[in-house]
Amino acid sequence: MEPLFNISVITDNFTYFMIGRFPHGPLGGVGLTLYLAVVSCILSFFGGMILGLLSVSRFPAVRYPALAFINLVRGMPLLMVIFWMYFLLPALFGKIPENNTVILALSLFTSAYMSRIIVAGIDGIPKGQTEAATSTGLKSWQVMYYIILPQALRNMIPSFVNQFVSLIKDTSLAFIVGVSELTHVATQINNRTMAFPTEIFAFIAIIYFILCFAFTSLSRWLEKRLSWAKAI
């Protein structure tokens, strides 16, 4: 009798799961998953910073459009954002590689969530700091840039790491537009071999778990360390 589970499908395709056809072809698998997550994380940090600062602006004409945009994106499923990008970007700018479409969609989507983290971080700094800085003669952008943000950003680090974990999970949706990250690689191998879906999907679930859990633990450790530093 054959064994219930057959892990040879995993061991045979292990390199393909990890890096796709790299270095003889495009990067795929876990490598591409991490690449998408890291690039989108960096872009959405800046996107979130811009949106966050706009949404706490003193001028209603700046604040309300920014808030409307943030809530628009937060009200949509990520899949919808990916479809919009997949459909709009080529219409506006001509042909764009799928990887970039997905990076832009992920960055836009995550920027909206990042902006909330940044606003919460800014709100978390006591008002006295702003007042003290203003009374020394700093302009309001200087107060933000030199006094508030450096302190706020440090407190936000755990939330950023959590957002990065969400991004790793969200990259799996790149599968839908044919980007060969880990989930796409798994469906490919599943379609080719036919007989081992349980093994394949359990295996990639474990891979994602290891990646995400490592960063979740890092974020918890940072949170403890930061609260300890604050208590001193």
Binding site: M76, F201, A202, Y208, F213
Partner: protein, 235 residues
């Protein structure tokens, strides 16, 4: 883009309107079934997470960490493609008869969401003063009965706003069910796009539906917070 002519009539009436409406109904059906099951499962996991027995606590913790740290899409694929090997034969038969796509999506959404709900309930329980538990225990209630009659009814009241937000997340997450062929909102929008090439209109329709859903639900949560819990809205 410049040569594009808008034609909103295709989505406001006729066949394509019917498709989108059917999609919305499927989305709501899938989300409602899953949120009810996820609440019950989440309640169970939350109680296990706070139990005295160490193995039970560890099991609940492993469950939470595993399902919160894996992508929902992978979980959907796992249940859709891979569950036949680990489920008993009679369940597989029943699932195949009742429409396996919908069931697989509901199972995945339920389990994924239950992990988040369990943490919401746990923080609700932790916000109840521990004297309540001590008083209940000294009045002769067992641990489970104190939970059932004293702690959980209070905790659930506080947990309702995060629960409603989980419903909203669930409605958005249910869009992933399209990947296994459940004909929900996003699936239908995509379908209308491929039949008519009117992607702009189709995606706008779906986006507006999701937005209205989230605005209505957020407004309800704020109302509940103000009227019932007497707290000012957070954002």
């Amino acid at each position: 883009m410049l040569n594009y002519t808008f034609d909103w009539s295709i989505i406001t009436s006729g066949q394509y309107f019917d498709w989108l409406l059917a999609g919305l109904i499927t989305t709501l059906k899938l989300s409602t079934i899953s949120i009810i099951l996820a609440f019950l499962l989440g309640l169970l996991i939350a109680v296990m997470r706070m139990a005295h027995s160490k193995p039970v606590r560890w099991f609940a913790l492993a469950y939470l960490e595993f399902f919160r740290n894996t992508p929902l899409l992978v979980q959907i694929f796992f249940w859709y493609f891979g569950s036949y090997k680990i489920l008993p034969a009679f369940i597989n038969d029943w699932l195949n008869k009742t429409g396996f796509e919908f069931a697989a999506a509901a199972i995945a959404l339920t389990i994924y969401t239950s992990a988040f709900i369990a943490e919401d309930i746990r923080s609700g329980v932790l916000s109840i003063p521990k004297e309540q538990m001590e008083a209940a225990r000294s009045a002769g209630f067992s641990y489970l009965r104190s939970m059932q009659y004293i702690i959980l009814p209070q905790a659930v009241r506080i947990t309702i706003p995060p629960l409603v937000n989980q419903f909203l997340n669930l409605a958005k997450n249910s869009s992933l069910a399209m990947t296994i062929g459940v004909m929900e909102m996003t699936y239908q929008a995509r379908q209308v796009e491929s039949y008519t090439f009117k992607g702009f209109e189709a995606f706008t329709a779906a986006t507006v539906v999701y937005l209205v859903l989230s605005i209505v639900i957020t407004a309800l949560v704020n109302l509940y917070n103000e009227k019932v819990l007497n707290v000012h809205k957070a954002t």
